[in-house]
Symmetry: C2
């Protein structure tokens, strides 16, 4: 009866009061330093000792207190993911990729929305690391392209990595895709279907990466000997609705385009919707192409020809590179470029001879 009580009370203790490294050390009959060695997988521990310590750890259900580890080692083992108003899908893919690398290397991930127009942004981010909330930051577009932020981080020594920056500096760490080449390719695809009046819908002006896509478009036109016309370029805001109004604008012109390449899928889906409303059939009367291969690309009718960027992989690489920098003294890998690829679906087709003139 007494025995029973004692056991119960011991059980309760191990539930309520957490075991510390000292408890483990005394139970195993070693010093705390040895426990520390075992916990951290460091060398110079005899096999027998290691075993004894592990048993003690097991018995006490010991888990090292992270705050103490962090304070003593002056590291948080946390990465912060910074973003400003991304699409849900983009963020989801980025976050998943970053998390993969974090989990694989024992880091936690903090999510931190920002405002890229905030003048105190740099201070905010630097403090994040300064206070020990994180060891380094992952920057996503459009934050990857805030010059003042990047240079401040660099100057203050806050570890960072840029995801898909438009302007790719030699001396900063970043990860990107071959998006310009893919834009060239998708435009070239339209050209090869016989299209000559190919319109382009720009993305949100604050997202410099969107400009890269226009570069590919223009390069492909030039390559095909088609002169670039301002009248065939409309400004969008990345949203479905902005795609609708840009399409309306473009299609009501004198010589309307026979193909429209929108800088992202949402806007391209808006184009299809606008075309439907005007009684145009896609792709018979109008070819439409998007960019990103988001879920919406297979949910429009017809499904969108688009470009798939390996966003998740890009984010995974980004976090890996950042962590490698944090975990090792020497400067490791600095940048990485991942292939984007054209995906042809039913929204693009041979140009309609009648419309072509």
């Amino acid at each position: 009866m007494f025995a029973d009580l004692r056991i119960r009370s011991l059980k309760k203790m191990s539930e309520i009061k957490k075991a510390t490294i000292n408890d483990v050390a005394s139970l195993a009959g070693v010093s705390i330093k040895t426990v520390s060695r075992v916990v951290n997988g460091l060398p110079n521990v005899a096999e027998a000792t290691r075993k004894r310590v592990n048993i003690a750890i097991e018995r006490l259900n010991f888990r090292p207190n992270l705050s103490a580890q962090r304070l003593a080692s002056r590291r948080s083992y946390i990465l912060a993911l910074l973003y400003d108003n991304p699409s849900a899908n983009y963020l989801f893919n980025i976050q998943s990729g970053v998390l993969e690398s974090c989990n694989a290397r024992g880091y936690d991930l903090l999510v931190h929305p920002c405002d890229h127009t905030n003048p105190d942004l740099a201070d905010e981010v630097i403090n994040l690391q300064h206070q020990g909330r994180c060891d380094g930051v992952v920057l996503t577009p459009p934050l990857s392209d805030v010059r003042g932020l990047i240079s401040a981080l660099d100057k203050k020594g806050t570890p960072f990595i840029q995801i898909a920056p438009a302007d790719r500096q030699e001396n900063y760490p970043w990860v990107a895709t071959t998006d310009e080449a893919a834009s060239f390719e998708i435009t070239h695809h339209l050209v090869s279907l016989g299209h000559r009046r190919i319109a382009f819908i720009r993305g949100h002006p604050d997202h410099k990466a969107m400009a890269t896509r226009e570069n590919g478009y223009r390069r492909a036109l030039k390559d095909a000997g088609i002169s670039y016309s301002r009248k065939l370029v409309a400004q969008g805001q990345n949203s479905f609705e902005s795609g609708v109004s840009a399409a309306n604008q473009l299609l009501k012109k004198q010589d309307p385009p026979t193909a429209i390449f929108a800088a992202n899928d949402d806007m391209a889906a808006g184009v299809i919707s606008a075309a439907n409303d005007m009684g145009l059939q896609v792709p018979k009367d109008l070819s439409v192409a998007g960019f990103d291969d988001t879920p919406i690309a297979t949910q429009t009718w017809p499904a969108l020809t688009t470009v798939r960027q390996p966003i998740r992989e890009m984010a995974q690489s980004a976090a890996r590179i950042l962590i490698e920098r944090l975990d090792s003294q020497d400067k490791p890998q600095l940048k990485e470029i991942i292939d984007a690829r054209l995906i042809v679906r039913l929204s693009t087709g041979t140009v309609n001879a009648v419309l072509r003139q």
Copy 2:
């Protein structure tokens, strides 16, 4: 000239070596305890002292080290958001809502994907808090409905809150919406348009919250004196594609439904797509309703009649309630129910007399 040098070197110091509470204390000529009081806004500090300390803080650009605060106070001021394979949009809304409350109350947010089928899930989550990686966890569906997890957290004293649990226990903290009532309402809407053969597409079987939606559907049928028919219920998996195949299944039956209510928008969009492929016009030949009011609801053609759940608000309340529990001794608010509401768009219409028979 010397002065210049000295200033520059001071500047550099404050950039490189972070000031600690001791530096502030000696500069202000007070004890570190007083600095601590000022930093934490505690009472019992003379106004003049407070001012002197603040000036010192300013001059040294002092930021309290979080790891030290956390270790000493045995609190991390971090919440963990747990999720298992949610849709990008759902996660985005939840995360935004939780972040609002976190930011408002000085908490950071950790994101932590889980596997709800993992037998060690409870240990994993308990350790999260046990190790001091977070002070409490926010559970999203389907994790909100893992009984073993909930009871283990409760037993071990790991603070948690459930978002949208299907089974709503009196003694656990949770936040939910009036989703059953909204399902009733949307079904009733179809009935009032003259529909009698109203099909239902179930959501993913692991998401018990989806079952709630079926309850509302059945209650509305009963209320209208329509007998429930198994033949008019198909199983989906929450995805667009599963909506397509469920619709194909339902529409090829002998007495096909004149209306289909899918448990979420993605599946409803799949229904519209399938209907298009079969040459059926929506809503003339088939009324379609969804649930959630995700972006896709306004991007289908015609746009979806659906239910808007204030997911973001729900998540915000959840985090607020959890933080209140963490920050105060006494048991504060335990649960909250937020209104969901019907949104009628063009995908539902009067039943086609010919089809009705």
